[in-house]
């Protein structure tokens, strides 16, 4: 390829650069979301394990919920309720992260397509 025979198309160049930086930030965001989803998954799993443990306790066992450094006496039922709430919240968070991920991926693809179209239209123009 001989250098300098074609004038660099500034518009194309700019579009390329934009796409590149977009790709970097998007992949970063997706990575971050994946990591968050993983931790959330672990929290859910953990909560379910604790739930099993608590169910297997003999009736009338006194259980305390950790709040900061203190422990509050809480009925097994309440503890289960709180665990379920936690699981639910985590699952919702995961869901929103997933939808966000899908959106990001779609968005990126669209940008790629736009660039492709731009190239095609430039070629046709020439």
């Amino acid at each position: 390829m001989a250098k300098g025979t074609l004038p660099v198309d500034m518009e194309l160049r700019k579009a390329f650069q934009e796409l590149q930086s977009k790709m970097i930030t998007t992949t970063q965001q997706i990575k971050l979301s994946n990591a968050q989803i993983d931790t959330l998954k672990r929290t859910v799993q953990h909560s379910k394990l604790v739930d099993q443990e608590v169910i297997s306790l003999p009736p009338n066992t006194r259980t305390y919920e950790g709040v900061g450094r203190m422990f509050i006496l809480q009925s097994v039922l309440d503890i289960q309720k709180n665990l379920q709430l936690k699981v639910k919240a985590s699952e919702e968070k995961m869901k929103s992260l997933e939808t966000n991920k899908v959106y990001l991926e779609k968005n990126l693809k669209e940008s790629q397509n736009n660039l492709r179209e731009l190239i095609v239209s430039k070629q046709q123009l020439r």
């Binding site: 305390y64 709040v67 900061g68 450094r69 203190m70 422990f71 509050i72 006496l73």
Partner: protein
């Protein structure tokens, strides 16, 4: 100092100086990532405190609790006030506030730290970018040098 370096054309620097520059950048990167980690840690603590305050609610008044006397000793007791908490605002000052005010306090703190992190993040990224560029230039220089030496050796 950092501002000056950005104006120098890095590709013009000799190899030893480039090496020094990467080392300096490494140090700076470590410094900033350390601050980031500390900020994250502090933020986590504030979030936790904020969440704890949710449990200081009327339905927990007089409830049996285990009171942390030290980090390794607890005694049975009861929560005796769910309206107010004492907040350590730093430098030896403590303020009694309503639970809702306490929550606001920690929310503010979290926001403050987030802002600090947002300030550091781009600087950190810029340092990473600069380091990468410097390393690349350094490597190409070393390669060119070794090629030159090979050439000289072949001639001799």
């Amino acid at each position: 100092m950092a501002g000056k370096q950005q104006q120098i054309d890095v590709s013009q620097l000799p190899a030893p100086q480039l090496n020094q520059l990467t080392q300096q950048l490494d140090q700076e990167i470590e410094f900033f990532s350390n601050s980031m980690n500390q900020l994250k840690l502090a933020q986590g603590k504030f979030v936790e405190s904020q969440e704890c305050l949710n449990k200081v609610s009327p339905d927990n008044l007089s409830k049996d609790i285990l009171v942390p006397l030290t980090s390794s000793m607890y005694v049975p007791g009861q929560l005796s006030d769910v309206q107010n908490v004492l907040v350590d605002i730093g430098t030896g000052y403590y303020v009694e506030m309503e639970v809702s005010k306490g929550k606001q306090y920690f929310k503010r703190k979290v926001e403050y730290i987030t802002k600090q992190m947002e300030k550091i993040q781009p600087v950190l990224q810029e340092k990473y970018r600069m380091k990468q560029a410097t390393v690349e230039i350094l490597q190409s220089k070393i390669q060119a040098m070794s090629l030159q030496q090979q050439g000289a050796a072949a001639k001799a």
